[in-house]
């Protein structure tokens, strides 16, 4: 790793130019790309509110947490903003087995002059805190709440970080930034969709300055994202198909809210569906492989009804039709 400790944002860029958002805000950015800066996805569409929330995190050094259902592109959203600002960015995927040692660092046996010695090796947390890095904690609500107290102090702005193992106190780099994403707002798995999430301690949740919600996009935005991922559909017919796909995805979401089905189509699923359509050349087959097979058999008929509405075509799974003809 080349050391990026001394890097600083050295230019101001306009939000309007960079993200296509109607706003006069100017934000600091790095002029040079570095190995930790994510790749730019030129097709990515920014959600105005969430982009502003994340940018305020970058500009004002706020701690921003983004909550949203799966497949809405929460982490990608932060990554893509960092990519356009040339801001180094590191994602840490939290899970129930991440311990304090994983984050802070541990004593490890290393070879020095052909002798085994124990040496403290810094974890990612102390490493990032001393550098101009945007650190993203993915799936914050999957981590064990007691472990997450490790980051309690750095959640405060200018909060120092004490390395107990080395008797050192670290000052955060002025351009260190912290973000988190989660499926729930830390109140546990209320919808039954997010098995394995835990409750977030409220004192911890309280320290996040900004909690932004990224739920589903408008139908037009979603269709545009899909088109940009599968450009071969950019014909009149293809656009029609994609509009219908998005309409179907919206029906599953409302059906989920009403309690009729227990699986929702995320934008990610719709993208998979469009990609699978290119492979199989058959809308229904691709739909089955990308979504229907993930659903409970008892819900096939309801989903088949949604499908009929959007494509004017019966799925063979539809019980209503088979019941009809025998």
């Amino acid at each position: 790793m080349t050391d990026i400790q001394h890097l600083k944002p050295d230019q101001m860029v306009s939000v309007r130019d960079l993200f296509g958002i109607e706003n006069d805000l100017k934000v600091p950015a790095f002029s040079q790309r570095e190995e930790h800066v994510p790749e730019i996805d030129s097709a990515y569409r920014f959600n105005v509110d969430v982009t502003l929330a994340i940018l305020s995190g970058f500009v004002q050094n706020r701690r921003v947490m983004i909550q949203g259902m799966h497949g809405t592109g929460k982490s990608t959203h932060i990554e893509q903003i960092a990519a356009r600002l040339n801001w180094p960015c590191i994602r840490i995927n939290l899970d129930g087995h991440i311990s304090r040692l994983d984050l802070v660092g541990r004593d490890a046996v290393v070879l020095r002059e052909n002798k085994q010695v124990t040496e403290f090796q810094e974890g990612l947390l102390p490493w990032s805190i001393q550098r101009p890095v945007a650190l993203i904690f993915d799936e914050l609500d999957a981590a064990r709440p007691e472990v997450m107290f490790v980051i309690q102090r750095i959640l405060e702005r200018e909060g120092k970080f004490t390395l107990l193992d080395q008797n050192k106190v670290l000052d955060p780099h002025p351009y260190f930034r912290l973000f988190a994403t989660a499926n729930t707002v830390g109140l546990g798995n209320l919808s039954g969709l997010y098995h394995g999430t835990s409750m977030i301690n409220q004192a911890q949740l309280d320290r996040w300055n900004i909690v932004a919600k990224l739920n589903y996009l408008s139908a037009e935005d979603e269709a545009n994202i899909i088109l940009s991922r599968v450009p071969s559909y950019d014909t009149d017919e293809g656009r029609k198909a994609i509009d219908s796909m998005v309409a179907l995805a919206n029906l599953t979401r409302r059906g989920f809210e009403a309690g009729d089905i227990s699986t929702v189509m995320s934008p990610r699923t719709v993208i998979f569906w469009a990609e699978n359509m290119q492979i199989f050349r058959d809308t229904a087959a691709a739909f089955r492989l990308s979504f229907l097979n993930k659903c409970d058999v008892a819900e096939y008929s309801t989903i088949a009804e949604y499908y009929q509405r959007c494509f004017d075509q019966e799925l063979p799974e539809s019980e209503s039709i088979s019941a009809w003809f025998d």
């Binding site: 029609k240 309409a247 059906g255 009729d260 309801t302 009804e305 949604y306 499908y307 509405r309 039709i321």
Partner: protein, 576 residues
Amino acid sequence: MERHEVLQQKLEHWCAASIRAIANQATVHYRGHQLLIDDKLLGIQAPHLQLDLATHDNTKLRGVADGIALRLIHSEQDLHGRLKPVSELQQLVFELLEQLRCEALAPERMPGMRANLRQRYLYWANQAAASKLVENSVCLLIFSISIVSWSRLQKEIIPALIEDLIEGTRFSFSSNLRECLSAMLKSKHDQRRFAEHALQIAAEIELMVESVASDEGADSQAPQNLKKLLNSAVLGSQWFDSDASKLQAGLAEGFAVSQVSTIDSASSDFEYQIYCRDYDKVVIATESIRPAQLTKLRTQLDKRLRQQSVNVHRVGRYLQQLISQSKLSGWSFGEEEGYLDAARLSRLLCSPDEIRLFRKEQSKPASDCIVSILIDNSGSMTHHNEAIAALVDTLAKALELAQITTELLGFTTNEWNGGQVLKQWVSDGKPENPGRLNSTCHTIYKAAQTPWRRARPAIAALLKSDSFREGVDGEALQWAAQRLENRPEANKILLLISDGSPMDSATHAANGDRYLDQHLCRVAKDIERRADINLCAIGVGLDLSAYFQESMSISMDNALDNPVLFSIAETLHRAV
């Protein structure tokens, strides 16, 4: 007929699900073939959306569902209600124009929805064109305005046959009416502006009707006739003439009336009375039948059970999956993670590679639940009694496998047509509003504490149907609920199996036909409101959703199989 009921219920379920998703209205559901929103009847009365219940055709029901969903999205009910004209004829025209407007707003991205709407509308139009109603000039006028507006709003071509039929009427449209039509078409995105033009059209139509009426010189009879005609046009049931459809429509109407009246007003002034309790009794099934006969009946039932293809253990596991909750019980040792198990530390010393040193708390499924099955023992159930006995026996066994307690109860009356109680009432000089005029007979087939194995002969007593008479469902539900109250289980489910509405001829003759119906509705509602007991119902070839929030219908035509029991398990699960 029975299969049709089951299918109808499924279709309604899917259509309601589609409406909920399309219109984003989570509270829409069917009860007794009526669409309710927030437990109130939907007031959508456009003729082409009135469904004849005998045509249980998916595509047509889909069209109706889509029409209703679009109406919910695009039309403000309040505004529509405020703008509504006074005269009934104008109301009808206004209503159907508003509905057509909403249907014209079907999104491009849902071609299937457009196809459904088109199919439904054309089906209705063809039926109407073929019926006698269009021979009446008023109806033909309304029909024509509906067709013309539809074709122009949807940009569709009118089928040649209908074109011929309405040509004359269409020609008679005044220039004023034509202008209104064109203006109306331009404002289909704006309910208020559209309504202004629609109201003008409605007024024009009424003028035309009046002139037609005066031409025909039937002034005196016109208003009454008109009302009758309008009713038929609104209900749509007049379009069809088969007996089955009339029966169905009548049934549905009965349900709807009793249901609405209990929901809205009758609950306050309706009072249920019992004329005499002296002859009521509770019997234990095994005590009224000789043991030798019970053995014979059980053999008969076992023979039937062997013929069915049900995997009871699988049903039991499914029930457990659905109904039981996980409870911590005991420890599991030798785990690779968890709490450190002190007793195993010595192993670590002996073999440092040993990592199974931890213990975890185990969770096991436990179902603290009782299901009380209340069986309608009315005379009509005699046809099904072997099938019902087989169903109940299998269900009780499966529930017991899932560690769920069961209770089997039955209800009927002691005598046909009033019996002793009626005689007493007659000798008392027939006082008014006597209330229930028969004595009830409640049977216990299997009490909660009796295990299924020991209750086997008693379950066979269900086959002895000579004591099956009439049925007072409401009181039976109260009795079963009362028995449940005293049980220690945390989850209590009351499952009613019935093939019809409550019936007692003497009571109905003295109190009116809906007396027992109303009581059942009220009792069901009371129990549904209670937090401790969950109520659900199985209709044998009949839709019971008018009475119960959670109901399913099953067909007894075929042998019992796994899917039927699975769906019963799901109904029980939904009720919890």
